[in-house]
Assembly symmetry: C2
Homo-oligomer: 333 residues x 2
């Protein structure tokens, strides 16, 4: 686990979108961040106090999290002075970039001298077991998508947050680098060795109280040929009791695959249930989560109502409407 | 690629079953093996000439293949003298054991001194791409199983051998260590990083002549929760034109999973086709391959006839009957 609270490093972020990781932490675990650190030419802000390293240290920050991704996912030379100074002041550093902290000799040296840790959250650090398929105590919910990047992580985080608000027992279980940085721990599933994928998910979502829900972060899509194996392992390792169908309705084709059309929600429901019931015969689809960001403010509710009528399932955009109705539906199973 | 021909090292194999890899090479690529090397207490033979290292060298052998697996998959200290002598005489060494050649310092040193290579075929050596899902030229056949270890590799090898006999264009494409050692190359799919599984399969089965068939070695099962993600990536990366259903009818439960029952062949057909048609809408199931080794000699033909009537598909045990009828069925699509 990465030590919290964090100082969020925004560096020389060219725009707001490039600070997505920092924004995610601010949105979902504000208690995990004491402030942000921006360089002179930074073009982003997540609306937290601008702190120096010394001020952040005084405020209790334990880890500097790289909350920005520049083009190519590299660690910019311009960042190095700040990162090395942070290690010298006793911060750990955590990053989800492709360019690993551990591959930068100057950072490794500075971490060694100062007895600090570098966390590359894209890389597994645990020797995960082979999945044993045994039924586990507690309940699990998983969002499955018609495509990649349709809002599965957002759906899980929003349902978890809503359950916390209601005083219900709930944990968000990250399976990707952004989720891991938000909560401080998880499994970077797309970097796990094939044979151990389902076992890594079992490890991530152990036995729990009978009335506790794990919200497992979804990945890929059964219908996305590049990543469907990861999704399959997530469903069989996660043995979900509840599935939420996640959809982005304005895509011309599957992400990155111009020759592949998105499946319908009915096709997603049927294949996902068939697959999920291999691991958990009691699994049910409880709702639909639609990312309507590309639908106008005066049109999206009509669209959601149409989907709700067609699918016979509670249908919401959790960003615009909250995840309350999805949590209501969970309570019924 | 591993250089052929091989000398098959049987070492101190306790019994015939432990020499399964050597037997596979002898059965399927006899032209790849000049002979076998057995230690004094060896309890196995694959029926090839017993050669010393010097005799094998004179016969043209390039690589000593460890064709035996002892308990735990370790490289036995008792083997070391032979292996080091082989490196000194100019052999490469290839192994599919869990215990890697590269982790044995004395072997690494001897290989270095003599300028030889150590091949651990469980470990990928290629940086595989992310799958792009593009339609490739040529045709592909894949065996999918009701369970793990039901005869998928055997089915693919037998169909490839039958097509070679008929003068048809055909290649066996290994995805596991035994298959890789048999042919000298392939992708160790269960050891590939999750994100690159389907891409590794695309890499393994590139564009080919329109009338050429790749027989892709199957792995796992969509119904085996420990490994289903690997199977899924194999189906979506392989984009098969033809599926063969592989089955072992006497299992009490899924291999290693006492709480999971095997699916029926009809369930296997339906789920496999649904999944395969995401990548290749023209995919067809062309036959059933049953491993009847646990059914008596006077009963198995009746059983196969029953399955054939039930499924409406050519149904054979390729070990007992050959793969001719499966190849006939391929020719029709």
């Amino acid at each position: 686990m990465i030590q919290t609270p964090y100082l969020l490093f925004l560096g020389d972020a060219p725009d707001q979108l490039s600070a997505k990781v920092a924004q995610g932490i601010k949105d979902w675990r504000p208690e995990n961040a004491v402030g942000q650190l921006r360089m002179a030419n930074c073009g982003a802000s997540v609306g937290l106090a601008d702190l120096t390293l010394a001020e952040a240290k005084a405020a209790g920050a334990k880890t500097l999290v790289i909350g920005v991704a520049n083009r190519g996912g590299v660690i910019s030379p311009a960042w190095k002075d700040v990162l090395i100074a942070a290690l010298a002041m006793g911060f750990d550093i955590a990053s989800g970039l492709h360019n690993l902290l551990r591959d930068e000799n100057d950072l490794v040296a500075a971490a060694g001298v100062n007895g600090r840790s570098l966390f590359d959250v894209r890389i597994p650090t645990v020797a995960y077991p082979i999945a044993n398929g045994k039924k586990r105590m507690g309940k699990r919910c998983l969002a499955v998508g018609t495509d990649c990047s349709v809002g599965k992580m957002y759906t899980g985080l929003a349902m978890d947050a809503e359950m916390q608000r209601r005083g219900m027992k709930s944990t968000f279980r990250p399976t990707g680098q952004t989720g891991i940085l938000i909560t401080g721990g998880g499994v970077p599933l797309d970097a796990v060795i094939a044979d151990f994928m389902a076992g890594a998910v079992e490890y991530l979502t152990p036995d729990n109280d009978a009335d506790h829900w794990d919200h497992i972060e979804g990945q890929g899509s059964l219908f996305h040929v590049s990543y469907s194996g990861v999704t399959m392992a997530l469903i069989h390792g996660g043995q979900p009791d509840a599935l939420v169908l996640a959809h982005e309705p304005t895509r011309a084709h599957m992400r990155g695959l111009p020759d592949y059309k998105q499946p319908s929600l009915a096709e997603l429901r049927d294949l996902s249930l068939k697959v999920a019931r291999i691991a958990n015969p009691e699994c049910k689809v409880i709702g639909v989560s639609v990312n309507t960001q590309n639908i106008a403010a005066d049109k999206y509710e009509t669209y959601l109502a149409e989907i709700e009528a067609e699918m016979g399932l509670p249908t919401v955009d959790p960003f615009r409407q909250g995840a309350g109705r999805l949590v209501d539906a969970l309570a019924e199973i």
